[in-house]
């Protein structure tokens, strides 16, 4: 059987650090969601059963904070990597491979919408990260900051009410809850659907876990990157099996 499989040319799309961070964020996000909502909906039986199984609301609260710190450490890792990339590797932050939004993304977005509405015949030649992939990343990255800030207010209310009026704690509670719903809806439904439930990758897009992408997939989903790779004539297939 093994001889019949076609060995595809593979390319490395995600570094080990990116894979590790994604995996950590994935589990910590599930954990923080479960513990958070079991506290927010503490009047409901399933939430109480879950909290009981973890040893009471105190430990749910503790685990929620452990997951929160883990998630934020991932953010810190990304920032440290960014500094390392910029200053030690002398990388280009706004180049075609970047996760940062550029003006090109706006144009691609317009063209992409045109393609979806059948006004154009071809999708735009997406680079390494398409606009929705960047959106996926930045919603979480920015969301972490606001969730972190409101979360800190709720974690240390006595400390923060030295500087801000008391109703900020209530505000933080409302915002923390509302954004939690937003984040969970976005990550568990939109992100999961867009990344893993599309027909061409169903039941899951393993690229983020294996770090490898195939030539065919790259040509189809990231034609801009593929063209650039060929143009620079540095086709070094890495990590082929």
């Amino acid at each position: 059987m093994a001889n019949q499989t076609i060995r595809q040319e593979t390319f490395r799309r995600f570094s080990v650090l990116q894979r590790a961070v994604h995996l950590t964020v994935m589990f910590a996000f599930i954990g923080i969601g479960l513990t958070g909502f079991s506290m927010a909906f503490s009047s409901m039986a399933p939430a109480r059963a879950f909290a009981w199984s973890l040893g009471g609301v105190e430990s749910v609260r503790y685990l929620h904070r452990v997951f929160a710190v883990t998630l934020y450490l991932c953010v810190v890792t990304e920032v440290v990597w960014l500094i390392y990339f910029k200053f030690l590797l002398k990388g280009n932050l706004f180049g075609p491979h970047s996760i940062f939004f550029t003006k090109q993304d706006l144009l691609y977005f317009r063209d992409h919408m045109g393609y979806i509405l059948a006004l154009r015949n071809e999708p735009p030649p997406f680079e390494r990260f398409a606009w929705w992939e960047k959106l996926d990343y930045w919603t979480l990255f920015i969301g972490m900051q606001t969730m972190g800030l409101t979360g800190l207010l709720l974690w240390f209310p006595e400390f923060f009410s030295r500087f801000v009026p008391g109703y900020f704690i209530n505000l933080a509670q409302v915002l923390h809850f509302d954004e939690a719903i937003l984040a969970v809806l976005y990550k568990f439904f939109i992100h999961t659907t867009v990344r893993h439930f599309r027909p061409e990758v169903y039941p899951g897009d393993w690229t983020i876990f294996t770090g490898k992408t195939t030539k065919e997939k790259m040509m189809r989903t990231h034609p801009g990157e593929w063209a650039r790779l060929n143009a620079s004539a540095q086709i070094v297939p890495r990590g082929e099996r």
Binding site: S15, V16, L17, A20, G55, E58, S59, Y62, L89, G211
Partner: protein, 475 residues
Amino acid sequence: MKPRLLRSALAVCAMACCFLAFGMVLSSSAEEQASECLNCHRQRNLNANEGILSSQLFCYSCHQDPASHEDFRDVKVSLQVKPEYFYKSSHQFVACTQCHTDVARSPHRSSSGVTCLQCHITFFGAPGTHAEHIRVRCEACHTDSQFVALDIAGNEVKLAHTNTKLLPISLAEHKTTDVSRMEFCTRCHNTDNQVGAPTVVLPSKSFVCMACHYSPLKIGSPMFLVAIGIAMIGMIGTLSFWFRARVQDEASSVHRKFQLGSEVVWSKIFSREIFPILKTVFFDILLQRRILANSVSRWFVHSLIFYSFFARFALSLFTLFLQKVSPESELAMTLVNKDSGFVATFNDVTGIFILAGVAWAMFRRYVTKPEYLTTQEQDTIALVIIGLVTLTGFIVQGTRILVAQIPPQVALSAFVGYFMSRLLSMVNIHWQSVYGYLWYFHAVLWAVFIAYLPFGKLKHIFTTPLSLLLNYKKD
């Protein structure tokens, strides 16, 4: 209007007024009576500030009076609660009866004393300090009084109700200790204390003590910082030496080497090869198959030391986890308490195993000298450090049992420690002062162990599993 009609109208009005006034008098006296009863017989809502403050005011109606006192052995002991202290404390919005739970009754007297642990989880903050003072009642430190007493039968240190001249003193002031200043420690930790405290204030355990003891996640004494620093330098040196080698034809860029190396590790973990790797972890690293194949006695010696440390480390990690996740649980309280039956016995058994292992290893190295054993200087250093750490551990434990006057029925769980304490009690010196030096000796030895980790023989704790993992295919 006719005068007659006016008159009768006036009369009716007057009567109505009379009735009204009479009714008011009647009802107000009933209300007064009722409120007099309700002063005491009222369930105040202690979840709201109104109930808390009215409850406090009710107690204050007597206890604010400077003349309120109790006659105790012909001495007037003041019972005045001073609002200037109480209203500055963090308990200002707590009703008196929420701490003095059994005092609002007749006779007006408490049997349980103040109940702190109803609200405060034991290891609320400062886990390093609280774990060491598990038999000291909260108020012995947190109430600003100079007098403490040891209750040997109850194995408790509590606030004394008498001063050094055995005259009763008042504890009604409600002045709390400023625990941010270390001076309050000297209340017990002074040269001639009677509560079994060492004469010096010792630093908290460090997280590096986790190998054998439950300890908080902090650096502790500066000597541990130095030791960790030296160990870090050694580890970075070793790592940078390893990364000087070629990784998959990459000779220069460390970034690229790291990238390639991590790629290999990742692809091994998330592949079928994880099963032979796990097999290696289980048989070669955990069960030490290779050493057993080499020599049974060698395996036995090594296992005595290795499994004892492993078990102690596992227990202290589990205790830390439990103490974080469920601090109020009985299991966490038991595991944190080093005098509890299980922990004391466990520590002594594993300690004896380590000592036996070290003694046997020394016997093999210096007396029987099998042919395959080549003893270098670093082997001796490693054995001496481990042996001395364990031995001093037992001596420190024995001294603590002796000094703290832990009752035999509690201390006997630590059978070696108790035996040691009996042995030490034959030497009549001031053990309370010696304890500090012994503790530091034990701690410095461990700091040396940590600092020496990446340099000598002890390096094998990390390198042997690593090389076994790297060569897992070869068997």
